[in-house]
């Protein structure tokens, strides 16, 4: 199945993926209107290590997803390799934030949880972070790894 992979040797640390993520999930058509003057809550986060190497972290859609197993509302599930949140069921308890080993489930700014759903639920249709990365440092591809 296709997954997101990062190539840290190509990452510029520009944080554009975070903005593209926030825009893609804003439900708006104009990026400036969607983001200007607002605190963004992206589902992907750029980290910097002690040597200044940067890379983006988002949901790994784990084979053994602790978030799904731990959700107290039955709101998280894995379908066709994608871990998604049913926002009508999420009550914002944040247990998923407490258990995700990679820090990939985060608050959405209104108190409930959000995570990368590979842009399957928004109008982007394919991961916006990948599309918008100016240096090909985030890819979405099938490397033949088992689910």
């Amino acid at each position: 199945m296709k997954r997101i992979y990062v190539k840290e040797e190509w990452c510029l640390g520009c944080h554009l993926c975070e903005y593209n993520c926030a825009f893609a999930n804003s439900g708006m058509t104009d990026m400036v209107k969607a983001l200007r003057g607002k605190t963004i809550y992206p589902r992907i986060q750029v980290e910097t290590d002690e040597n200044g190497v940067t890379y983006a972290v988002s949901c790994r859609h784990c084979n053994d997803p602790l978030c799904v197993k731990s959700c107290i509302a039955g709101a998280l599930s894995k379908k066709d390799g994608v871990i998604e949140i049913d926002h009508s069921k999420c009550v914002g308890c944040l247990t998923c934030v407490l258990v995700c080993p990679y820090g990939a489930v985060v608050e959405d700014g209104s108190g409930v949880a959000q995570k990368c759903e590979l842009c399957m639920k928004n109008t982007c249709g394919a991961p916006a972070c990948v599309k918008g990365c100016p240096n090909g440092a985030i890819v979405y591809e099938d490397r033949g790894e088992a689910e």
Binding site: V6, T48, D49, S70, L94, G103
Partner: protein, 412 residues
Amino acid sequence: MKKYVIIGNGVAAAGCIEGIRSADAEGSITVISAESYPVYCRPLISYYLENKTDLQRMNYRGESFYADHNAAVLYGKNAAEIRTDAKQIILDDGSSIAYDALCCCTGSSPFVPPMQGLDTVEKKFSFMTIDDTLALEKAVTPESRVLIIGAGLIGLKCAEGLHDRVRSITVCDLAPRVLSSILDDRCAAMMQKHLEDHGISFILGTSAKEFQGGHAVMQNGTEVDFDVLVLAVGVRANTALVKNAGGNVGRGIAVDDACRTSLPDIYAAGDCTEYHDISSDSVKVMALMPNAYMQGRTAGVNMAGGEAAFDNAIPMNSIGFFGFHCHTAGSQPEGCEMYEEADENHIKRLFVKDDRLTGFMILGTMHRTGIYTALIRNQTPLSSVDFDRLRIEPQLAAMGSAYRDKVLKGAV
């Protein structure tokens, strides 16, 4: 064809069904459910009172869950006895069900200590089930003064749930602080202040001595008038079935990493069990929903002849009130060191011993706390990571490039 029987119909049972079916598509599954509802999210009953969910959305799984997993549910039935010699369960209606593999997911029950005059209280409730919640909902009015006995997770979530529905809420507890099972004094004080800012009153460090109708007298002499009483003192694991069948039982049903009890072909999972906490290297009752699911699933796989272990259990809680959250995990062993950062609206306390993170309490800002939880669960040597960076901010960047490559360049 193997006959699987599950006593109980909570989240552990759902995990057990999914575990069985991951390894055996053929065997028959029978679920004995005391409650008349499909598996629901028990901790959501307070969110129901807040109108943040409803009975439909509280279902843990979709409408066709039992049908999809070819499981039969006997609603409104209770198991009265397990006969290990005949491998049969006797129900309270006298009928019997044969099993090849059995899982006890019997949960826990509210514990109500003897209190003088409790029988004179007209409107009193537990807060464990949908039926408790619907009865409580019916009993309260915007004029109700509510007294909640117990400032633990159940009592305080009940207080939050009732907040917009009643006139006043007073919570009392024998412990000198709120959430005494998961927070220390300083963290509890911050949470208590937050709750008080939302109008919840507390009487701590004392217990109810006597009730006279709608009047309570505490051991320390404080008196409270109330209209509705909620009893949330604590819970006890439902162990009787396994105990009476001769199984090992402590404060919960004793289970190993495979979720086996001491009795052949009998497994147990969820709030009814006691099991190994790796963060304190001790056996505890850890009545937590995530663990219940993982135990149930583990039991199910093993019942069906597969191999699964839940061998890294730790206590952990994510709980919030009126938008103020708290995350806790692991334990604080004697002699541990504490790293702390704190300001008026935020505390982070990390507990370290023998080169391991053993536990934490974080209040206020919940960001990527799961990275800390994983350090506890994986018993990661802190000398192998950049803990000086990690303790300031949870991040993969401080976990070493090998770990990062595994996570971000491969499938995990």
